[in-house]
């Protein structure tokens, strides 16, 4: 997809301005129904396009992403453009600097078309927790696009942009990608700089691409990844290529025992048959700790989030639209945070405060950190037996808007297959693997060992062809 657009630009079949205008007009046509965007940066995008066009006139050679439009999840800082994390507490906040990923994409010549909707502070799996409005699934507008990167996934699926950036803390790129029938890649922890990403849980957060093909995901990933002085947890990945001998894929038996939708199960069984036919060795594996990942996650994430979100105090960031009553500092904190945070955010801050408080720290937080260590070791052990792990991305098909909104635990269970990759820091990708009877997309997740991102992408390209649906 990106290569094809690049070819058209390079051969001057289309100008950058025409390309940007084409996507902007698709956005205009579809946005009223889909509601994927929080901010559309039409003027800046057209200016950037014209500038690039005049450089092309002067004979500039085009890089692969030069002139390619994209959208950005609204928790990634963009200088001079509103960055709200879809929270009332940041509703008037304008990015003071560019996140490293944005700087890199701008340097590569890619053009921002807008900022996309998300669950407030990336807390959610349906984009219904956005403080502004929910996003609709382009395949069925009565259903959610998944989340928290639901705006980015819907925008790519509706072809409003060729690619978008999202962030993944427990499945927030892969789950919406699966629900919207596109590719969503969560790199290894640290493979992409988090500088300029509004922090949710710093030991789990990763930025990654949402695209229409694995090849596109790889193109974007090559640009945004790498060590960054501004994020001390970032590092350079080593390139690697697929082994020539037979590849072994592990299928965790635990995936089939957790309320898996029957159509997804059927789809998975078909996929296994296709893989066997392609001479890939299939091995049933056991990850006994997999069912504990989500519980582990719902201690570590709130703990880190409660600390990260302490900074929203009503003093340093954008003002709320409401006039506050209190006239001392403490009231300012209470009122700002009571009015500015939505219910899911409040829930997680309070939960995090609980698991970190005296008397509970050892029993909850420290125990979760130990289980995290065991899960990480379990992955290492399994990856000494198999090259990749394959599972469904989600246990259910895209659900209806409102279906799970008032049941936090049911919503949390949407991430049951995706969280463990964040817990262990390993890379994982969701690729489309067909449709349900009602024509709803189904996602397939492939997980690789820590740091083997390029290997994962190579393999996913292969699998993408094998499971390609009619």
């Amino acid at each position: 997809m990106i290569k094809e657009i690049h070819r058209k630009l390079a051969q001057r079949e289309i100008s950058v301005t025409e390309l940007v205008q084409r996507y902007l007009s698709t956005i205009k046509d579809k946005e009223e129904q889909i509601k994927a965007f929080i901010t559309i940066t039409e003027q800046q995008a057209l200016e950037a396009a014209r500038k690039l066009d005049s450089e092309i006139q002067e004979g500039k050679e085009l890089g692969i992403l030069e002139g390619i439009p994209f959208a950005v999840k609204d928790n990634i800082l963009t200088k001079g453009i509103k960055t709200t994390a879809c929270s009332k507490i940041l509703q008037n906040y304008i990015g003071v600097y560019d996140a490293t990923v944005i700087r890199k994409l701008k340097e590569a010549g890619a053009i921002i078309l807008g900022k996309t909707n998300m669950d407030e502070f990336a807390m959610g799996s349906s984009t219904e927790n956005s403080a502004f409005f929910p996003t609709k699934n382009p395949w069925d507008e009565r259903r959610v696009p998944g989340g928290s990167s639901g705006g980015s996934a819907a925008a790519v699926a509706a072809q409003m942009v060729p690619f978008a950036l999202g962030s993944d803390t427990g499945g927030s790129i892969r789950q919406p990608a699966a629900f919207c029938g596109i590719v969503g890649f969560k790199p290894s922890y640290g493979a992409v700089s988090r500088y300029g990403l509004i922090a949710l849980a710093s030991s789990l957060d990763v930025i990654g691409p949402l695209t229409l093909s694995v090849e596109d995901a790889e193109i974007v990933f090559r640009v945004i990844s790498g060590k960054d002085d501004l994020d001390s947890t970032s590092y350079d990945l080593r390139a690697c290529s697929l082994p020539k001998e037979k590849i072994t894929v592990g299928i965790p038996q635990e995936c089939f025992s957790q309320g898996l939708d029957s159509e997804i199960k059927e789809n998975m069984e078909k996929t296994i048959e296709k893989l066997k036919a392609a001479e890939i060795t299939i091995k049933t594996i056991s990850l006994p700790l997999l069912p504990y990942s989500l519980a582990c996650y719902y201690i570590i994430l709130p703990a880190e989030a409660s600390a990260n979100l302490a900074r929203y105090d009503g003093i340093r960031y954008s003002p709320l639209d409401t006039e506050l009553e209190g006239n001392d500092l403490l009231s300012l904190y209470y009122d700002t945070r009571g009015l500015g945070f939505g219910s899911e955010v409040r829930r997680r801050i309070v939960l995090g405060t609980f698991v970190l408080s005296r008397g509970y720290y050892e029993a909850f937080y420290k125990r979760a950190q130990k289980v995290r260590k065991l899960i990480t070791e379990e992955y290492k052990r399994i990856f000494s037996e198999v090259d990749f792990i394959i599972s469904p991305t989600t246990p259910t098909l895209p659900f209806f808007l409102g279906e799970k909104k008032d049941d936090p635990l049911a919503m949390y269970l949407s991430d049951i297959f995706t969280v463990s990759a964040n817990i262990a820091g390993v890379p994982a990708i969701s690729i489309p693997s067909g449709f349900s009877k009602e024509h709803l997309p189904i996602g397939l997740q492939i997980t690789a060992p820590y740091g083997k991102d390029f290997l994962l992408l190579e393999f996913a390209k292969k699998i993408e062809k094998i499971v390609a649906y009619e």
Partner: protein, 94 residues
Amino acid sequence: MNLDEVNHLLELSRIKIGEEEKKKLAAELGQILQYVEKLKEVNVSATEPMNGGTNLENICRADKVKQESPDYSGYLKKAAPKIEDGYFKIPPIF
């Protein structure tokens, strides 16, 4: 989880909400804590806690100030609700 506990946690979290919402929150937190209780089934006696998301060793760099632009702090302050003479303005502490 009872209402006293929820009130205490809300105080620590610096969040003010209504009485009805507190009751709802208490019930939801109870449900979530019941779910995460299952971690007690895992034997962690011989395990050290994992403190971060990375296996990297300590990394050092020169302690040099890198400023994005000459008036970077000016930009940062622009975002704030109340600024006076270049300072953040806050309500009285007491």
